[in-house]
């Protein structure tokens, strides 16, 4: 059986900033529909830049990038982005924040309300639609941010260290919830993180990047079956893989220092 066409394809992609600094050099990477790809590597290796390229916020200097066969600027409707910070509009209620992207797309209030209620339920924030972001905890704010992204029913979800600022327990909970949501919503994920344990828990593919300039150092497959739960973290296989990814990452960082 032939595999489906890739949903994201980077082909010999390079990104150079205006001042000439080479951020990403000759990178080739494809993502299949349903992949959960974690991008991990030292600071400055271009992880977030890759997400910005996919999202259309930044453009390639050379090479090509196709999203579902389209150029990034034509594929905006396919994507949603979850930033490192919750990035909520503080003057809007939780409900209005979740509706924001649909409002920008021109959806009607009734369409927005139905989807808002569904995605708030997905992230377990039912009943909080009338609260303001300042009334939420850090973890709840991030859930709202994820709900807003899901409101577009994206085919690709870009997550830029979304749980980096949270404590470990909240982060673990949100990791589990993210996978639970993914059981119901079949999106492809690009997930930037600095946490090896998080990358191993969430992904089926871990792309370890090197810096100066950013490039793929090694890709490691994670073959644990989904759904993954808190017990997955206890398994020896999981811990061995965390140790292996950490070793590779350390070797990359030593080269970069």
């Amino acid at each position: 059986m032939s595999s489906p066409p890739p949903i994201v394809t980077f082909q010999r992609a390079s990104k150079r900033y205006g001042d000439g600094l080479l951020i990403i050099d000759d990178l080739t990477l494809t993502a299949q529909p349903g992949d959960f790809i974690s991008l991990i590597g030292p600071s400055g290796c271009g992880k977030s830049t890759l997400l910005k390229l996919i999202s259309g916020l930044s453009t390639l200097s050379s090479g090509s990038l196709h999203i579902n066969g389209l150029a990034p600027e034509q594929a905006a409707r396919e994507l949603a982005y979850v930033f490192q910070e919750p990035t909520l509009l503080p003057w809007l209620t939780v409900g209005k924040n979740v509706e924001l992207l649909m409002r920008l797309d021109g959806s009607t209030p009734s369409e927005r309300a139905a989807i808002r209620d569904r995605v708030l339920s997905l992230v377990r924030l039912d009943g909080l639609a009338d609260r303001y972001p300042r009334q939420l905890s850090g973890g709840q704010k991030m859930r709202v941010s994820i709900a807003r992204a899901l409101s577009r029913s994206p085919r690709i979800l870009l997550l830029d260290e979304p749980f980096g600022a949270l404590d470990e327990m909240t982060r673990d909970h949100l990791n589990e919830e993210l996978l639970a949501i993914r059981e119901q919503e079949a999106w492809t994920a690009f997930f930037v993180t600095h946490s090896v344990a998080e990358a191993v828990f969430l992904s089926n593919r871990i792309v370890i990047m090197a810096a100066g300039p950013g490039r793929i150092h090694e890709e490691i497959r994670v073959d644990f079956p989904y759904p993954r739960t808190a017990e997955t973290r206890q398994s020896p296989a999981y811990q061995q893989l965390v140790a292996r990814v950490s070793r590779v990452l350390r070797s990359v960082e030593e080269v970069c220092v």
């Binding site: 905006a76 490192q84 910070e85 990035t87 509009l89 920008l104 300042r134």
Partner: protein, 263 residues
Amino acid sequence: MKPSPWRRLLPVLTGIVFLAIWYAVHFSLSTEERYLLPRPDAILQAFRDESAVLGSATVNTALGALSGFVAAIVISGACALLLSLSPLIRASLYPFLMMLQMTPIIVLAPILILWSGPGFLSVTIITFLICFFPLVVNTTQGLISTDRNLVDLFTMARASRRQEILLLRLPSALPYFFTGLRIAATLAPIGAIVGDLYAGNSAGGRGGLGFQTIIYSSQFKMPALFATAFAGCALGFIFVGAVVALQWRLLHRWHDSYHRTDT
């Protein structure tokens, strides 16, 4: 945490001490000099005696201040939007905005009187000139200080320029706008009184507090002069109070400045 009753009483106590010192200074002066610092009760009496004239003058000043203030809000808002569009526009126009601010209003007033004649229009223009700068600078700063990630979010969602301005940049600039608005609110009555001092007249009963100051000063009516000063001060409180109330109405639900003790 609510302030204690003692804390609420502090301004009242300070006021009582201030009045006592006032009386003490008044009575320490020689009988001939006492007219220089009239007793507080004499000022109250002047309020009563001149209530019709002072009331009308206060209303006229309030109208001049309000029209200049509103004009400054509208025009500074439009200018701020223009300035926020590009650093090049800001670089081109900022020096001239600074010139407007740096030019002494005392020098501009006679020119304005020659251009638009004495009276309400000149008072309005002078008030506008005084209020404009803090409003345009703060609002522009607010419009260009929008969280970069939020701008990226709107860009990624392919939001139109109009959506970005209405749904993101304007609400995000509100706290900055109110900082400028509070400054402008204190300046508006001062601007109207200064404008009235130079450009006011009593034609058609339109004289304001500035014009009344000239009349009372030429008549050596010291209690009435002090009463005029207090009327101007009260007008300032009304303007600032209105702005503070509006600011509370629009920001209190979400802005951190109203919720520092929540966390």
